[in-house]
């Protein structure tokens, strides 16, 4: 896959950092402001897709990245499940109970497990979208 012109590359290099920063902002404030795990996942995946489209890459490198992102995905969704299962052993022993202290409404560290779920889902969605995109690109490159 070929990259694009140096104008696109330069702009992409600057913009990607801003997009990541925006993603991190929404994910940490997911329980306070609009947005949350899904939006962030898609935003970060968009940044990755921008990088791949702008700079281009050979198939071998893309394959390494695909393996990495699918591993990330499995780990993060497993973390989500473990967070939910953890409720079976803590507190009142009910599946999906919010077992951490709730804190004060409107503060950054509040709402118990919700921010953790948010982060797990965010990473999962981002990794999933990146894997889907890379799988399509690799298939198109390998089978002509």
């Amino acid at each position: 896959m070929h990259g694009m012109t140096s104008i696109v590359k330069t702009v992409a290099r600057i913009v990607v950092g801003v997009i990541f920063l925006y993603g991190v902002y929404i994910i940490t404030h997911g329980h306070l402001t609009p947005g949350g795990g899904f939006a962030v996942g898609a935003v970060i995946a968009g940044a990755f897709i921008l990088l791949v489209l702008a700079f281009g890459s050979d198939v071998l490198k893309l394959k390494v990245r695909e393996a990495g992102s699918s591993t990330f995905e499995s780990i993060s969704i497993l973390a989500f499940l473990l967070l939910a299962v953890g409720a079976l052993f803590i507190g009142t022993h009910v599946f999906f109970q919010n077992y951490l202290p709730k804190g004060k409404v409107g503060e950054l560290i509040s709402a118990g497990v919700i921010p953790l779920y948010n982060i797990a889902v965010g990473v999962e969605v981002a990794a999933a979208l990146v894997t889907i995109f890379l799988a399509l690109v690799i298939y198109k490159e390998e089978v002509k």
Partner: protein
């Protein structure tokens, strides 16, 4: 408010019809984008900022993937013609005309049945909450989340969200399975 929404939905219907009838697949995709982004504006008007954010990014990524699929194909669609030509004389293609009449009749029938059957339900803007009354009243003190949608998605109905993350995982495994180069070992 209702008029603006009605106009936007009207545009979305026109966009959808254009997308389904465009000759070039790329312009069909762009027209499909009209429907998707019109939906974003509707979400904003309907006081659903979470949905607007998610829809706008998801729509963009879907468009990128769809364009990537379409871009190196021939992009042309084989059309069914309204008239056929046999030995220099042109006849009206009866199958085409019958199709159009059937579609119009069926649509009118379904729309009529739908509009007749929904007249007992709550009109637009006068929705009465039942299950979500508790979600609205107790979200702040029982989940600690200031964003009620996040509270519902991750706490009251976190089980649904786990299912949804699982669906994305399933789709990824499925796509990796479908797009592997060799299906069988020789």
């Amino acid at each position: 408010m209702e008029t603006i929404l009605a106009i936007i939905i009207g545009f979305m219907i026109i966009g959808a019809l254009f997308a389904l009838h465009a000759k070039d697949l790329l312009s069909a995709l762009i027209a499909c984008g009209i429907v998707g982004y019109g939906l974003v504006i509707c979400f904003l008007l309907l006081k659903a900022p979470d949905l607007a954010i998610v829809q706008i990014v998801v729509e963009t990524i879907t468009l990128i993937i769809m364009v990537a699929v379409v871009l190196d194909s021939s992009r042309r669609e084989l059309k069914e013609k309204a008239s056929i030509r046999v030995k220099g004389i042109s006849y009206v293609n009866t199958r085409y005309v019958v199709n159009i009449i059937a579609v119009i009749l069926f649509t009118a029938l379904l729309l009529f049945f739908f509009s007749e059957s929904i007249d007992v339900l709550a009109p637009f803007g006068q929705h009465a909450t039942r299950m979500s009354t508790a979600y609205i009243e107790h979200a702040a003190d029982q989940t600690g989340s200031a964003n009620l949608v996040t509270g519902v998605v991750f706490d009251f109905r976190g089980y649904d969200t786990m299912g949804e993350a699982t669906i994305l995982f399933t789709a990824v495994i499925g796509i990796l399975t479908i797009l592997r180069i060799k299906g069988k070992e020789k």
